[in-house]
C-alpha cells in the first residue's frame, strides 16, 4: 500500500478535450484497483485544462512545447512535488499514474507530429503516438530530481491507444502497485 498520484482526468473525465471523455466522471477501472489494494489517491492537476481551456483542440507535444506552457507545468510540478515530498518523508511507497498517448501526461507513450498545425484537420489513424513522456511528466521528473526525490514507479491509462485492453491495463497497474 502507498500513495498513487493520478492524472486529473482519472477522477474527472469532464476535464478531457472535447469528444475525449470515456465516462461521466470518475474512471472506475483505475480507481477500483487502487481501492481494492488499499492505496491512497492524490489527484494531480490537469496541465492542459487551465492553460488551454475546455475548448482546446486535440494536440501533440510539439504544439504544447513552448516556454510558456513549460513554465505553467513547472508551477504545477512544484505543487505536486510538495505532496510527493511529504509522502516520501512519511515513508510511503509512491506510484504515478499517467495517461498514455497524452502530450502532457504520458508516462511511456506520448504523441508527436512535427508537421501538425494550422487548421485542425488530419487523416484518421495518423500515427502520432510515440515512445516518451508528456511535457508535464518531464517537468515533474525535473522538479523531483532537483529536490533529490527519486522518480516513482509509473503506470499508464491506455484508453487512447489503438490496442487498449482493459484487462491488460488492469494487470499492468496491479503489477506496478505490487512493485
Amino acid at each position: 500500500m502507498g500513495v498513487a498520484f493520478v492524472a486529473h482526468c482519472l477522477l474527472n473525465q469532464n476535464s478531457k478535450v472535447a469528444e475525449g471523455a470515456h465516462c461521466a466522471g470518475v474512471y472506475s477501472p483505475v480507481v477500483d484497483v487502487l481501492r481494492a489494494k488499499g492505496w491512497r489517491i492524490e489527484q494531480m492537476p490537469c496541465p492542459e485544462l487551465a492553460f488551454s481551456g475546455l475548448n482546446r483542440f486535440w494536440a501533440v507535444r510539439e504544439q504544447y512545447d513552448t516556454a510558456a506552457y513549460r513554465r505553467h507545468c513547472q508551477r504545477l510540478a512544484v505543487a505536486v512535488a510538495d505532496v510527493v515530498g511529504l509522502r516520501v518523508q512519511q515513508g510511503e511507497d509512491i506510484v504515478l499514474i499517467g495517461i498514455e498517448g497524452s502530450p502532457s501526461m504520458g508516462v511511456r507513450i506520448t504523441s508527436s507530429d512535427p508537421e501538425r498545425g494550422g487548421r485542425p484537420r488530419w487523416p484518421e489513424g495518423t500515427p502520432e503516438h510515440t515512445d516518451g513522456e508528456g511535457i508535464f511528466i518531464e517537468e515533474l521528473r525535473r522538479e523531483l530530481n532537483n529536490r533529490g526525490i527519486g522518480f516513482p514507479r509509473v503506470a499508464g491509462e491506455t484508453h487512447a491507444l489503438a490496442d487498449h485492453d482493459e484487462a491488460a491495463q488492469r494487470a499492468a497497474l496491479e503489477a506496478t502497485l505490487d512493485g
Partner: protein, 121 residues
C-alpha cells in the same frame, strides 16, 4: 463539437471523502456511481503553504468549468477554498457535509441539470 460521455457535473471533494478513514464514508464511490467528476481538495493535515499552492490550481480549473456552465458543488469542508475561488471570481455555494451515502446521493440527485448540458439539448 460532438458530445461525449461527460456529465458536466463536478464535486469539489474534501480529501476524507476521497480517502476515507476506516469506517468513513466513501464519497468517491457515491460520486462515481452518480456520474459526477471529482476535484480533490487538499488533505486537512497538509502544511498551509502546500494546501494553498494546491488550491490555487484547483481554483483556476474550477474557473474554467464555471465559465462553461458546468454544475459545481462542494462535498465536505476545506478552510481556504472560498478564498482561493474568490481570487478567480467564482463562488460555489451548493455544499453538503454528508454523514451517509444516502445523504450524499440525495443531495446530488437534487441538483439541477447543468447549464452546459441544457445548451446541448
Amino acid at each position: 463539437m460532438e458530445p461525449d460521455e461527460r456529465s458536466f457535473r463536478i464535486a469539489l471533494t474534501a480529501d476524507r471523502y476521497v480517502n476515507p478513514p476506516p469506517g468513513g464514508l466513501d464519497g468517491l464511490a457515491v460520486l462515481a456511481e452518480a456520474g459526477w467528476g471529482v476535484i480533490q481538495l487538499p488533505a486537512e493535515d497538509y502544511p498551509a503553504v502546500v494546501a494553498e499552492r494546491m488550491l490555487v490550481e484547483v481554483a483556476e480549473q474550477v474557473r474554467e468549468f464555471h465559465s462553461h456552465g458546468y454544475e459545481l458543488v462542494v462535498v465536505g469542508e476545506c478552510d481556504k477554498l472560498g478564498g482561493a475561488l474568490a481570487v478567480v471570481g467564482v463562488s460555489v455555494s451548493d455544499q453538503v457535509i454528508p454523514a451517509s451515502a444516502a445523504e450524499l446521493r440525495a443531495f446530488l440527485d437534487a441538483r439541477p441539470v447543468p447549464a452546459a448540458l441544457r445548451q446541448l439539448r
